[in-house]
């Protein structure tokens, strides 16, 4: 049993954090804070990047907690998913993933496609409009998390859906800041 090779691989890929497992609000507070401190105090000492990475991390983990279909049997506020934070070519990226019901895929996919096609000004207008709108039924948050992520992203949103079984798909989203 030796995790050294695995760690070497992560280091070589520039991965700062790789977590697959149960996610809770406490994890956002704890792991999120550690990541923030690490980036703030890193060789670049980049406070702005630290806050950006942290904010995307918060939105992504919140999405996993809310929307992953893999939930803990006892604690309904605990859901399973995966999150990776890394740095490539000078840009931080945050990738999150969780299992969803395939029937939810189409709505989510067309929403994300809509966001990916918007420029920064359009995203800003849309963000403001949605912020003032009433909370919609299926959305446990404000429904503006993805817009927030798209606005902080230096590249168009990248996302993917992979079929898992008859009724489930795995959703992955990547934000590069």
């Amino acid at each position: 049993m030796n995790l050294y090779d695995y760690k070497q691989e992560l280091d070589q890929e520039g991965i700062l954090l790789s977590f697959s497992g149960p996610m809770t609000h406490e994890m956002i507070e704890g792991v999120g804070r550690a990541i923030r401190v690490k980036i703030e105090g890193g060789e670049d000492g980049d406070k702005k990047a630290a806050l950006k990475v942290f904010s995307i991390f918060v939105e992504q983990v919140e999405n996993v907690i809310r929307y992953s279909v893999e939930k803990d049997h006892v604690d309904s506020n605990m859901s399973f998913g995966i999150i990776v934070i890394g740095k490539k070519d000078g840009h931080f990226y945050i990738i999150g993933g969780n299992k969803i019901e395939t029937e939810k895929q189409q709505t989510l996919e067309s929403y994300l496609e809509q966001l990916a096609a918007m420029n920064k000004d359009e995203l800003k207008v849309f963000y403001k409009k949605r912020r003032r709108a009433e909370r919609s039924g299926d959305s446990k948050g404000a429904g503006i998390g993805f817009i927030e992520m798209a606005r902080k992203s230096s590249q168009p949103l990248e996302f993917n859906f992979q079929k898992v079984d008859d009724i489930h798909s795995f959703f992955t989203i990547k934000i590069t800041i």
Binding site: R33, L51, G141, I147
Partner: protein
């Protein structure tokens, strides 16, 4: 009215609403586990307080280092309540306080300001402590 006092946690801000001195403040970070639940007493207090307001001058200091997207919506809802009060000639000034080196907080403040009309919304830069 009783003072509303909520202590800060890692993910929720300190709230201090004082009806005697007409000074309200929200300070810290806001990404609570349940945003609606956290802000419920804030809205309740605020609505009752505004109903009771007459000629007093109210100062609302808001100093948030970071807030998540669902808190952003809660803040907009707070500003909408204050806007309505100002439309009824209540005298409220909001100070959006941000650290000199926190561009994101300034930008968020500017964006809120763009969506606000009757409420006096000041952007107040706070110099970094040495």
């Amino acid at each position: 009215m009783q003072t509303l006092e909520i202590s800060a946690t890692k993910s929720s801000p300190a709230v201090h609403f004082d009806a005697q001195s007409n000074t309200l403040s929200i300070m810290g970070e806001s990404y609570p586990e349940n945003t609606a639940q956290f802000y419920e007493p804030v809205f309740e207090w605020l609505e009752e307080y505004i109903d009771s307001l007459q000629e007093q001058h109210v100062t609302f200091n808001m100093e948030l280092i970071y807030f998540n997207s669902s808190s952003s919506k809660a803040l907009m809802d707070i500003f909408d309540i204050l806007e309505e009060a100002c439309d009824e000639d209540k005298k409220i000034v909001l100070n959006w306080i941000y650290d000199e080196d926190n561009d994101a907080a300034l930008e968020y403040g500017e964006e809120f300001a763009e969506d606000i009309e009757s409420l006096t919304f000041n952007l107040v830069e706070k110099p970094l402590a040495d």
